[in-house]
Subunit: 337 residues, 5 copies
C-alpha cells in the first residue's frame, strides 16, 4: 500500500514502509525527499536527512543501506528485530536498538526501534506495537534551535520519547497493584486474581528485559567515546539515563511488591484453611453429642431403666441441649466459632 | 497565600513558595532579601545567598533560575519531583536530589528535596511531606564559624539533617517489629497482623529506594572531583555517608527479619493446622465408638440375645465408656489431645 | 568404521573419526588431504587446513597434535570432553570449547565442540549429540570472499552456527511453557505437569551452564588481545556475543517464568484445598441435621409425646427438609457451595 | 564509682570510665599515668600511651580528645556508639570501630569497641556487653619484643582478640544447630523449636552485620595506604583478615543451614499432615461400615425379612467385622494405616 | 607410633607424623633424609627437598620451620587446621591451604592440606580425612623431566590431585540425586528421603565452602605476581583452575537441582493432600445417604405410613443403592474418586 501524505505544501507519494523522509538544515525542514536522494543530501555540509521507516522490506533496507553505507550486520539486525537493546559502533556510525512498551487491553505490548545515526543522517526503523515518532518530529521541528545541534539531538529526542512512554505503562500497573493490595488485606485471592498476578509478573519480567539493557545504552551515550555524540549532549543523555533508572527502580519495586503479595496471600490462605478446619472440628464436636446420646437410647436392650422414667426423654433432651450450648460457648470463647 | 514572618527585627513579606531567603557573610546573616536581588548578592565576594522554597510554582523557579543561571534540566526536575536521589554537575553548579521520610499515622510519608549549590548560593526546594529546614538554618546560624566555610557546609548540614531524620522512622518500625516478634512466638498471625506485616514490607521497600541511591550521592560528595566541595568537607560527608550506610544496614536487616517472620508464621500456621487435624481425628475416633456400638444394638433383629441379658445395657455402656477412656488416654500420651 | 565420501570429484577414504580434511587458499577449497599432510599444507603461505573430527581416538588426536604442534593440555581436554566453555591461548594458537544443544524427544541433548585455531589451520572436534558442521563448511565455501579472511572467520562461522542452534531449543521450550501457562490459569497442576515442569527447569539449568561461560568466551573474542583474531573480525564476534546474550536473557526469563508458575500453582492448589474443605464442611453441616433429629426420634423412651402426634412424622420431616434447604441456601450465598 | 586497682606495685586511683592508662617504652610498661599527662607522654620519642576506657562520660572523652587532638566527629561517634564497623583516617590518626559478640543466656550479646590510634597513643573505648581487654594487655606485656613494634601492634592485638572471641559464639550456635538437625530428621518442629530457630536466625543476622564490615576494615589494614600501619604488620592483619573471613563463611553457612532446616521442617510437616489426613480417612471409611449397616437394620419397616431370620444378627455382625477387617488390611497394605 | 617403610632400597626409620622426606635433583630422587638435614639440602643449588607430614606435632612443625625459616603465622595455621583455602605469600615463600573431600559411608569427609613452597623445598601437611599424596609422589617420580621444573610443579601436581579427587564425590552425589529425581516424579518424599535430601544439601554446602575459595587460589597461581611460580607453569595452573571451576559449576547445579526437588516435592505433597481430601469428601458424601435415610426410618413415630408398605423396605434399600451408585459415578467422572 502506498501512503499519500501532504507534508509542508507538497503532496508526497511515499513507498510502503517509509513514514517520513526529509532534509533539515539549521534546524528547519528544507524539503521532503525520496529515499534515492537521501545519501546525496546527507553529504551536503550542514544538511541532515531524517528518515522514518516502519517494518520495512529487505529491499527498502538495502536501498537505505546503499545510500548511507550502513554495515551489513546492522541491516540484518534491523530486518529480523528481536534484538537486545544495545548501542553498536560501526566505523563513524552508531546503531542503537531499544524496545518500546505500551498498554493494550491490560497487557503490555512491546515494539522494537532501531536507529542508524551517522554524519548527516538519522534513520529510525520501527517494528511491532509502537507509537509513531511523528510527535517527536513535530516537537523537534518546533524547536529549531535545539534541532540545529544535529543528529545526536534527534537520537536524544527519540530515546527520551521511548523512555517517557514507559511511565504510563508503569503507572497503569501500579494502579492495578494497589487495587490488588486492597484485595490481599481482605481475603484469599480468587483464581482470577491469581491469574492476573501471574500475568503482571510475566509482563513486568518482559518490561525489565526491555529496560535493563537500555540503562547500559544510556550510560554509554552519556560518556565520551562514541562518535557523533557531542559533549554538550551528555547532560541530555544523563537525563534520559536518570529517567530510565527510575523506571527500572519502579519495575524492581513492583516485582518485589507482587512477590510480597504472593507470600501474603499464601499466609492468608493458610489462615483461612485453619479457620475453616477449626469450624468444621467445632461443629463436628457439637453434633457428636446428640448423635452419641440418641444412639445409646435408641438401643433395644430390654433393661434400660431410663427409658421408662417419666421425664427420661425431657431430661435427656435438656442434657443434650445444655451440653451443646456449653460446647458452643466454649468454642466461641476460644474463637473457634 | 502570602506568609508574613518576623526575621531578625525586620518584618518580611514573602511571595508564596518562599520559606526563607537571606544573605550570609562570614557565617552571619546580613539581611533578608527578595528573590530578585539574589543573583546580585550572590556575586559579591564572600557573600552567600541561602534560599528555601516549598513546592514552588514554575514562575518562581524560573525567577530563581534566572538569578543564578541554573540549568534547564535541573529546573524541570525540580518542578516535577519524583526524581531518584542523585548528584548532578552542571558546569560549576551542583544539583542534589534526596528523599526525606517521616512517620505519619503508622505509615512512612516521603518527601523530596532538591538542592542547587553553586558559587555564592544554595537553593533548597522541598516537595511533599517533609520537615522544614528551619532547624538546620538555626543550627547553622548558631555556629557562624562552621557556616563561614561556605555553600558546601550548608549542603552537608541539610543532608545530615535528612539522614538523621531517617533514624526515628527506623526506630519506630524496629519497635513494632519487636512487638510482632512476640506475637510470632505465640500463635499464628491474625489477618490484621498479616496486613500490617505487608504494609511494613512495602514501606521498607520504599524507604530502601530512597536510601540506596543516597549512599552513592554521599560517596561522590566525600571524594574529590565535584566543584565547590572543599577537601576539608570530605570528613563531614564521610560521616553522613557512614550514617546513611548504617540506615541502609538497618533497613536490610528489618527486611530480612520480616521475611523470617513470614516464614516462621507459615510454619507456626502449618503446625497449628496439624494439631487441629489431629485433635479432630482423635475426637472422631473416640466418638465413633458409642456411635458404632449403639448402632449395632439399635438394630431390630428378632434374635439378639445380648438385648435380653439382665446387665446387657450396663455392660455395653461400661464397655463404651472404658474403650473411650482408653482411647482418650492413648491420644493424650502421644500428644494428639 | 571407515566412511567413504565423495568430496568435490575425488572419492576419499577417511579414517574413522575424521569427518572432513581439506586445504583452502583464497577462500576456495584446493583439495582433500590425509591428516599426515596437514601440517605441511598449513605452513604454506596463504594456505589453510580445515579438519573436522567426531569423537576421535587418542591416536588420531595425537597425530593431529603432531601435525600442528598443539599443546598437551588441550589435547587431554579434547579427549575427555566434559570441559567448561572457554577460550584458552597456548602460544600463538587458540583452544576454544563450546557446548551445543538440540531438542531430542522433548529433552535437551547436549554436545561439546572443541576448536583448535592457529596459523594455517582450524581443527574442530565434536563430542556427543551435536549436528555436523557440514552446513557451516558449505556456507563458508559458498562465500569465498569472506572465507579468504582466514582461520578466524571459520571460528566465527562455527560459533555463530552453535549459537544459532540454541534458538530453536529456546523456542520449543517457550512454546511448551506457554501451553503450561494456560494450564496454570485453569487448575492445579497434575502430577504429569509437575514432572514436566521439573524436567524443564533441570534442562534450562543445564542450558544456562552451557551458555553463560560462552558469553565470556565471546567477550574475549570481540576484544583485542587474542592472537590470530583480526580486528576486522571483532564486529562479527560482537554480533555472536549479542546473540548469545539474547539466548542467556531468554533462558533467565524462562527460568523465572517457571518459578512463577510453581508459585502460582502452589497458590492455586491451596485455594482448591480451601474450597474442597469448605464444601466438605458445608455438606457435613447439612447432613448433620437429619442425623441428629432422626437419632433423637429413634430413641426408645416410653414417654415421647411427639411420637404419638398424628402429624409428628410429617412435621419433623418437613422441619428437616426446611432446615437443610435453609442451610444450603446460606452456604450458596457465601460461596461455600 | 571510682575503681581502685593495684597495677604493678603502685596503687592507682582512677576516675570512673578509665580501665587502664599506662606508658610503654621499648615494649615494657614504664608507669601508670593520669589522663591529663597522656598527651605529654605520648609526644616523648619512643614512648607510647595506651588508655582503656569503658563507657566514658562526655567530659572524659573531651579530656582524652584534648590530650591527643582527636577529631570532633570521631569523638561524637565514640560517645553515641551504634556505629558500623569501619576504619576512618583523620589526618595522621586512625579511628577504628568494631563490634564484639559473646553468648549470654543462649542469645548473642553485642558490644562495640572504638579505637583511636595515632603516633604515640592507643585509646580503646568499650560499650555494652564486651569482655575487658585486660587479657590483651597482659599478653602484649608478656611479649615486649612484639609490643615494641608500636601502636599498630596493639591495634592488631585488640582486633585479633575481638575476632577470636567470635569463634566460641559460632561454635555454640553450631552445636545447637546440630542438635536441632537431629530433631528435623525425626519429627515436625515443636513451637519451641520454631521459636528458637527464629531467634538463631535473628542473632546470626545481627552477627553478620557485625562481621561483614569488619572484613573491609581488615582488608584496608592489610594493604598499604593507612598512616601508622607499618608494612611489617600487614601479614598480621592479613591473618586477622583470614580469621574474620572464616567467621563470615561460618555465619553464612549457618544461615543457609537454618534456611534448609526451615524448608525441611515444612516438608516434614506437610508429610505429617498428609499422613494424619490419610489415617483419618481410613478410620472414617472403616467405621462407616457398622454405622451404615446398623442404620439400615435399625429401620422400623414392618416387612424386613432379614430381621426375622434366626442367624440374621450373627450373619450381619460377622459381615460387618469381615468387611472392616478387609478394609483395615487394605489400608495397611497401601500404608494408609 | 613410628612407621618403618622401605623407600628405594634403604629402610628408613621415620619419626611419627613424617610420611616422606626426600631430596630430588634433576627430577630424580637422590636420597631419603632426616628432617634435621632438610634445610641444608634445600640450599644446595638445583636440589629440592620434598617433605610430607600427616597431623604433625608442634615440635615437628617447629623443627621444619627452623630448617626452612617458615613464617610464624603459617606454622600456627598449619597446626590448628580449620583454615580457609588461601594462598599466602611470606617473603619469598608461599603458603597454600586447600580442603580435600572424599565419600565415606554416604557422607562427604573433609580434610585439610597445607603446603609450604619455597626455594628448594616443598612441605605438605595433611589433616583429617584425606588420601595420602604417595600417588602424586609416584607420578612425579615417574616423570623426571616435568619434575625437574621444580617446586612449582609439585605444587601443581598436588593441587591437581586434590581437585581431581573432588570429581568422584560429585559423581556419587549426582548418581544419588538422579535416583531421588525418579522418586520425585512418582510420589511425595518419605521421611527418609527428606532426611537424605537435607544431608545432601548440607554436604554440598560444605563442599562449596571448600571449593569456592580454591578458585581464587588458582586464579592467583595462574597469573604473574607470586614468587617461585614460573611463567611456564601458568597454563598448568590454568588447567587446574578450569577443573575447579567445573567442580564449582557442578556443585551449584546440584544445589539448585536439590532446591527444585524440594519445591517439586512440596507441590506433589500438596497435590496428594488435595486428592486425599477429595476422596474423603466423596466417600463421606456417599455414606451420608444410607445414614440419613436409615436414621429417618429408624424413628419411632406412630404414624409413618412408609413403614407399613409392603415393599417399603425394598424400595428404600433400592433408593439408597441407586443414589449411592449415582454419586459414585459422578465422583468418578470428575476424578474425585
Amino acid at each position: 500500500m502506498t501512503e499519500t501524505l501532504r507534508l509542508g505544501s507538497v503532496p508526497v507519494q511515499r513507498p510502503p514502509g517509509v513514514v517520513a523522509s526529509a532534509v533539515y538544515a539549521g534546524g528547519r525542514r528544507i524539503t521532503e525527499i525520496p529515499i534515492e536522494q537521501a545519501g546525496e543530501w546527507s553529504r551536503k555540509p550542514d544538511h541532515m536527512v531524517w528518515i522514518g521507516l516502519h517494518e520495512p522490506s529487505l529491499d527498502l533496507l538495502r536501498q537505505v543501506q546503499a545510500e548511507f553505507g550502513l554495515h551489513d550486520l546492522a541491516i540484518e539486525d534491523a530486518l529480523k528485530a528481536h534484538q537486545r537493546p544495545k548501542v553498536e559502533q560501526y566505523g563513524e556510525a552508531l546503531f542503537v536498538v531499544a524496545r518500546t512498551a505500551q498498554m493494550l487491553d491490560g497487557r503490555i505490548a512491546f515494539g522494537e526501534t532501531h536507529l542508524f545515526v551517522g554524519r548527516g543522517y538519522v534513520v529510525s526503523v520501527r517494528h511491532g506495537a509502537s507509537t509513531s515518532y511523528t510527535p517527536v518530529r513535530e516537537r523537534c521541528e518546533a524547536a529549531p534551535k535545539a534541532l540545529s545541534a544535529g543528529e545526536d539531538f534527534i537520537l536524544y529526542a527519540i530515546l527520551d520519547f521511548i523512555v517517557d512512554n514507559y511511565m504510563p505503562v508503569i503507572e497503569t500497573i501500579q494502579a492495578e497493584v494497589e487495587e490488588i493490595e486492597d484485595g490481599i488485606l481482605a481475603v484469599q485471592f480468587s483464581q482470577d486474581q491469581v491469574t492476573r498476578l501471574y500475568q503482571l509478573r510475566r509482563d513486568l519480567l518482559r518490561l525489565r528485559n526491555a529496560v535493563v539493557p537500555l540503562v547500559e545504552v544510556c550510560r554509554r551515550l552519556e560518556h565520551p567515546g562514541l562518535p557523533g555524540i557531542d559533549a554538550t549532549m551528555h547532560p541530555l543523555f544523563r537525563d534520559v539515563s536518570d529517567h530510565i533508572r527510575r523506571v527500572q527502580e519502579e519495575i524492581e519495586s513492583l516485582r518485589e511488591v507482587l512477590a510480597f503479595a504472593f507470600e501474603t496471600s499464601l499466609m492468608t490462605g493458610q489462615a483461612q484453611q485453619t479457620e475453616i478446619t477449626r469450624k468444621l472440628a467445632a461443629w463436628a464436636a457439637i453434633l457428636a453429642v446428640p448423635t452419641a446420646v440418641a444412639g445409646i437410647y435408641g438401643m433395644n436392650f430390654d433393661a434400660m431403666p431410663e427409658l421408662h422414667w417419666k421425664y427420661g426423654y425431657a431430661v435427656v433432651l435438656a442434657a443434650i441441649i445444655l451440653v451443646c450450648a456449653w460446647l458452643y460457648r466454649r468454642f466461641r470463647l476460644n474463637h473457634w466459632l
